[in-house]
């Protein structure tokens, strides 16, 4: 800041001076760290054991049962392997971490390792401001590029100009895989005389039958606004038949949202709400409440993410089944999914090499084994996964993950599309569910938001030459 310059002018210029002073205080970094900086130019696999006494501050959001347990185990093992390293762990819930991370990263003394959410408002913004270290050189050393599927690694990439998401430099690696699937209650299905669905037609055909039998077909609570995005994502993937079109659009290079599959998915959503396949007043029911009621036997299906498995498994036991959304006859499964929050190294960290070794340790084959034992789905399920019973929900989840990856059937979360897409889409989907917004209008509005953001991005790059 150039504050001292303005003090000489004397009192007559106080007003002007105050303005100039303020102008010199434009907040924020100039983002010079974003472009060009390649991170620490490591050339050989670093040995944290030789780094001297190191305290690694780590902020994560692994607060749920199994996720928390595996991190605690792995942290202990890492400290045991390198007695000179102490891990100072700060665990916060996803929402709390998302809110405090921005402030922590802009401070002078940020944590060494953080879990930063993918997408424009988090990871892309941090990368553009030069707050995270690009990991490409480490990715080469530790062969992360071959450890993970490319489509999943892309979710953690940001272009060198800090504008584009899904391509460019690697800013983080993730531990666990996740996808939206269909949970079903075997007992409720049996009562209605139905088998677990094998195809999409089985699933849609079961809905009216369940309704007739007096059962709630699909348990669903959308007061928290985000669950509808997941349900809609499943319907959209189903209507499109493959993951690629929507995935490309989310990454900003596809055909947009004003498409027949989007309109069809919106129509199906509105139709299900109107026919009473969802509970009445789903917009007023909490997500957790809906999950609890499903566990209590209210509802044959629940469409939500793999993260809910452990919590449902406990009360439901063998009544619980889980699968990726069943594909149409002869097709491959498609669904919304991706990976857990990526682990990143901050650019102000004093020990990037120890942090990189820690990241590698959290995602290697041994870590996969620990995660599997704690009921968490690792991106690369190792040998331990093969020992799971394929007829139990855990085994179904692992098998479904492998099927989805083999078929390239993962569409990223739709809210990655633009910085404000989460707000507009979640609000609009509540409108579609209540009948206030027509399915056709939803597609138009999604497209408008998408096109406006793309246009803003393009003019933005021209301004900066």
């Amino acid at each position: 800041m150039k504050a001292h310059r303005h003090h000489r002018r004397g009192r007559s210029c106080i007003v002007l001076g105050a303005l100039l002073l303020a102008a010199a205080c434009v907040p924020g970094t100039d983002g010079s760290g974003a472009a060009g900086s390649q991170g620490a130019a490591a050339t050989a696999i670093p040995d944290p054991g030789k780094a001297g006494k190191v305290t690694l501050t780590v902020w994560d959001q692994q607060t749920r049962g199994g996720a928390n347990a595996q991190i605690e185990r792995l942290n202990k093992e890492f400290e045991h392997k390198y007695p000179n390293v102490t891990i100072k762990r700060v665990a916060r819930s996803f929402n709390d971490l998302k809110k405090t991370l921005k402030l922590a990263l802009s401070g002078d003394n940020p944590p060494d390792v953080v879990q930063a959410n993918q997408g424009y408002s988090d990871m892309v913004a941090f990368a553009r401001a030069g707050m995270l270290t690009p990991l490409d050189s480490y990715a080469g050393l530790y062969s992360w590029n071959t450890r993970f599927p490319q489509t999943l690694l892309n979710l953690n990439r940001v272009s060198p100009d800090g504008k584009q998401f899904g391509t460019g430099q690697l800013y983080g690696i993730s531990q666990e895989g996740e996808y939206i699937g269909v949970y079903y209650n075997k007992k409720v299905l049996r009562k209605a005389g139905l088998e677990p669905p094998r195809t999409w037609q089985d699933l849609t055909g079961a809905l009216p039958k369940l309704k007739k039998a007096g059962e709630l077909p699909i348990q669903f609570g959308n007061l928290d606004k985000y669950p509808a995005i997941h349900t809609f994502g499943v319907l959209q993937g189903q209507a499109a038949g493959s993951a690629e079109p929507v995935r490309e659009t989310v990454f900003g290079r596809g055909g947009g949202f004003d498409t027949e599959p989007t309109r069809k998915a919106a129509r199906t959503l509105a139709d299900w709400a109107e026919k009473g396949y969802f509970p009445k007043g789903a917009n007023g029911k909490g997500y957790d409440d809906a999950a609890k009621q499903f566990a209590d036997g209210k509802g044959a299906f629940l469409i939500t993410g793999t993260w809910q498995l452990a919590d449902l498994r406990k009360p439901m036991g063998d009544d619980l089944g889980f699968m990726p959304p069943p594909p149409a006859e002869g097709r491959q499964p498609v669904t919304t999914g991706g990976e857990g929050l990526p682990w990143s190294i901050t650019s102000k960290s004093d020990h990037p090499e120890v942090a990189a070794a820690y990241l590698d340790f959290l995602t290697d084959a041994h870590a996969s084994k620990v995660m599997t034992e704690e009921g968490v789905l690792p991106i690369v399920p190792g040998k331990a996964a093969k020992q799971l019973d394929p007829d139990e929900a855990d085994g179904q989840m692992f098998a479904g993950w492998q099927r989805l990856n083999a078929a390239d059937g993962l569409v990223p979360y739709l809210d990655y599309t633009t910085p404000t897409f989460y707000d507009t889409l979640s609000a609009d989907l509540q409108g579609v569910l209540s009948g206030k917004l027509s399915p056709g209008d939803l597609a138009t509005r999604m497209q408008k938001e998408y096109a406006e953001f793309r246009a803003r991005q393009r003019t933005g790059s021209e301004d900066e030459g």
Binding site: P27, G28, K280, G284, S426, G431, S434
Partner: protein, 315 residues
């Protein structure tokens, strides 16, 4: 050295003389400049923790800033958007509706109950006062969580309605486009009524009984008595209650955050929630600041109006 001190003390003696002379000219008891010295510590704290951040927010409202990268000048763009963008105007409209539930209704209910309670003596008054005041003591987050359960589709309210044969009225209160805002507003009425009642009851005790007796001798009924004796006697309390509830209505954040997150759609988004969402979630710090400044101005203006309307006539 000694010469210097000499002139120094001579100088200060002169200053002292001038000061005493100045104060001698004033009537005793008239405010003195030294009063500012007493105010200074409080003023310093006020300045550092309130005025300075307020100024900073005003400054940020003139910028486009995502909270991380270098900000760019926006001028009055953010304020212009507040006037033209329906998505930014709607929260203020919702806040106006909530004013009815948070301020007007509680004051009206409070006055009505006070009028009734001053006419009839009720046993266990302290108990009722405590119970009615209880919502004020609870953290708003607790209130929000409790009401979210009450208003849920299978919650207490709908169960009760079905039990008494009004099943046709049940709905998903917080998920209904029309009813979500009134539902949240009702929670506000529940919270603020106790405050108003306790304020008014305390005020009513100060109204001389003779006035009521005189009114009754003159043949005034309960309605007449309320408007000629109770209401004028409670003028100061009404002003306080209105100011407190107005501010509570307009800065309402926690309740919305807990119960609806602004939904369904944006049916219950309010300015304070929008400020938070834009500043911390979507990275529109400039727009959030402009909204915050506007909200501050609105609250300031409304409290001024209340003070003028209710208290002003006394002067």
């Amino acid at each position: 050295m000694s010469a210097h001190t000499g002139t120094g003390s001579r100088g200060s003696a002169a200053v002292l003389r001038r000061l005493t002379a100045r104060y001698r000219r004033q009537a005793p008891g008239e405010p003195r400049a030294v009063g500012y010295l007493y105010v200074l510590p409080a003023l310093a704290v006020f300045g550092v923790f309130l005025l300075w951040p307020l100024g900073q927010t005003a400054w940020l409202s003139l910028l486009h800033w995502d909270g991380l990268t270098r900000a760019s000048w926006a001028g009055l763009d953010n304020y212009r958007d507040l006037l033209t963008d329906p998505a930014l105007r709607a929260p203020f409209a919702h806040a106006a509706v909530l004013l009815l539930f948070y301020a007007v209704l509680p004051v009206a209910i409070g006055l009505l109950l006070t009028a009734a309670l001053t006419r009839f003596r009720i046993r266990g008054m302290t108990f009722f006062r405590t119970v009615l005041f209880l919502p004020q003591v609870l953290a708003m987050v607790v209130v929000g969580v409790a009401w979210r359960a009450v208003l849920a589709p299978e919650g207490l309210l709908n169960d009760t309605l079905s039990a008494v044969g009004l099943g046709g009225l049940t709905r998903s209160w917080l998920g209904d486009d029309t009813w979500a805002l009134p539902a949240v507003g009702t929670v506000g009425t529940w919270v603020e009524t106790g405050l108003c009642l306790v304020l008014f009851l305390a005020g009513a005790q100060r109204i001389p009984r003779e006035l009521y007796e005189a009114a009754r001798i003159d043949g005034a009924g309960p309605v007449r008595e309320f408007f000629t004796v109770t209401l004028p006697g409670l003028r100061a309390e009404v002003a306080v209650a209105l100011t407190l509830t107005l501010v509570a209505a307009l800065r309402n954040f926690d309740l919305i955050y807990i119960t609806t997150s602004g939904g369904p759609g944006n049916a219950t988004s309010v300015p304070a929630y929008e400020v938070y969402r834009r500043a911390f979630e979507s990275g529109e710090v400039g727009s959030a600041s402009a909204m915050g400044i506007t909200l501050t101005a609105v609250i300031f203006a409304l409290t001024m109006v209340v003070t003028r309307l209710v208290e002003g006539r006394r002067r």
